[in-house]
């Protein structure tokens, strides 16, 4: 009989919180002791969308044409689209297995709304507008789930100062997910079972400053100091319960899409571009104004930016943007010059930053979709990019869109337990390695063109 694989996706799980505290996590420790584990280098950008699909397809964000949660619609200034399942055109590991007649159960692997047909079952992810929408494949699965466990909880209400409320919602959501997963695990046929728990990411963003003594807003003796490690212990217990439900021919992969670290602040990239003369406005920005609402003089603007865990910078190029002013023949030089200035940005106290600037055309072997002209990780991702502006300072202590304590980090984790292999090894890997590893483990087809290596 062929092997089965259970993929336990922990969105944002960080090496320091799993490997350095594994003594408190007996179920993960068992898998580590008997398997291979290590840091997993995420893709660029290291963000939930596209990272889970990079894992599932073995293709990088350039090939997928997915660079985050939103993209420009063509080269219009103000039109955008939100990433969703239909944007993923490459085949996933479950598509390949499906072609061999093998079934998969997928729960909340982003982006999976709207629910796409799969050989097996699917519940969509946190970009689902609400549980009022059709969110399963097949459609009847929804009723089956709701009759037993109530409406599926896609996410929690975020950016509220009421941390106790957020915490209680995170626990309720994760409980709900594990009930549903436990049921599907035993009731359905599958060769591949893949779920993603988003609660890990949410607990990091809402509680990091309470735990991390190096965080600029850390307060000793605060009541939420142990929230994050407590949540990991809770997850470990839930994972232990799932493992009791699978047989001894089931391999297990615990994996995260990216890591996390403390946020040092948010940098208002558009204020900086105004100061530098790259972005020209006809009216000064209101406090907290979004770049989409900003009154921009496009006939004099050379560049503008978007916020998020990384900055996307767009150049206003003649022949490409409606009112472009940079001549195509000057594009490369203008971009290099701007990249140089971005790299030279210093922190609020004049401290040096390790800012990373990526040119998509050079970074990705293949380039599809609506990529930005530059991708910027301010101070090695410690400073997020604020797209809003007009605060009177370019350096914000907090996220511009509400309280947030954590940013993403390049390295997530993986633990691979294969019942047929000896383990106990540590070996770092790359996110591109996950798809070929899954296909090899499940004796799926050899897929040409996958750059990742099988983890073994």
């Amino acid at each position: 009989m062929k092997k089965r694989l259970l993929v336990i996706g922990l969105d944002c799980a960080a090496p320091a919180l799993v490997f350095d505290r594994v003594a408190e996590l007996p179920n993960l420790k068992k898998l580590m002791d008997a398997g291979i584990h290590g840091k997993l280098r995420s893709c660029d950008p290291p963000i939930t969308i596209p990272a889970w699909m990079v894992m599932a397809t073995g293709r990088d964000p350039g090939q997928l044409g997915l660079y985050g949660f939103r993209h420009r619609r063509g080269y219009e200034y103000n039109k955008m689209w939100i990433a969703n399942s239909t944007a993923v055109k490459e085949k996933t590991v479950w598509d390949y297995l499906g072609e061999q007649g093998r079934e998969s159960v997928l729960v909340s692997v982003p982006p999976s709304y709207p629910p796409k047909p799969v050989r097996g079952k699917l519940i969509s992810c946190f970009i689902t507008p609400s549980s009022e929408q059709a969110y399963t494949y097949p459609a009847e699965l929804r009723q089956e789930i709701e009759e037993r466990f109530g409406p599926f909880r896609f996410d929690v209400t975020f950016r509220t100062e009421d941390r106790s409320q957020v915490l209680s919602e995170i626990y309720q959501m994760t409980e709900n997910h594990f009930e549903v997963i436990g049921y599907l695990l035993q009731d359905k046929n599958w060769s591949l079972f893949w779920f993603v728990e988003i609660g890990v990411d949410r607990v990091h963003h809402a509680f990091w400053k309470f735990m991390d003594r190096d965080h600029h807003l850390y307060e000793p003796g605060n009541p939420y100091e142990t929230v994050i490690p407590d949540y990991y212990r809770f997850l470990d217990e839930k994972i232990g319960q799932l493992l009791e439900k699978v047989d001894d021919r089931t391999a297990v992969l615990v994996v995260s899409d990216h890591g996390a670290k403390r946020m040092k602040g948010a940098f208002c990239v558009n204020d900086w571009l105004i100061e530098q003369g790259d972005l020209v406005v006809t009216e000064p920005p209101q406090r907290g104004e979004s770049v989409d609402k900003l009154k921009i003089d496009w006939t004099r603007t050379r560049a503008w930016g978007w916020g998020g865990y990384y900055a996307r910078i767009f150049l206003n190029v003649e022949g490409r943007e409606p009112q472009g002013i940079i001549r195509p023949e000057d594009y490369e030089a203008a971009r290099d010059e701007l990249a140089e200035r971005l790299r030279a940005i210093r922190g609020p106290r004049g401290e040096e930053w390790k800012t990373v600037v990526i040119k998509p055309q050079e970074h990705y072997p293949e380039l599809n979709g609506e990529y930005p002209d530059l991708m910027v990780y301010f101070d090695d991702l410690y400073w997020r990019s604020a797209g809003t502006l007009g605060y009177g300072t370019m350096y914000l202590e907090e996220n511009d869109t509400g309280p947030d304590d954590a940013v993403h980090d390049y390295e997530g984790i993986y633990i691979l337990y294969d019942p047929k292999k000896k383990g106990g090894r540590e070996q770092d890997a790359n996110i591109l390695d996950i798809a070929p590893t899954i296909l090899r483990l499940l004796e799926g087809p050899e897929v040409p063109g996958l750059r990742g290596k099988v983890i073994e």
Partner: protein
Amino acid sequence: MEKEFTPVSIPTSLYKKIEEKIKGTEFSSVSSYVTKVLRESLSKNEENKEVFSAEEEEKIKERLKALGYID
């Protein structure tokens, strides 16, 4: 490295017509106009990206902002 721009040849008479057409409009060059028109024409054949209704899109944007993914 893939180049961001590449030239295309079109008849000079067409070029002149476009030049006339875009005078006084937001288009700063013939290339701007041609790029926009071609993109529109091609996107009609592409799969529709309108997965969310306008109301849903607003709601999701707000949520993604609150989650820190976009702003």
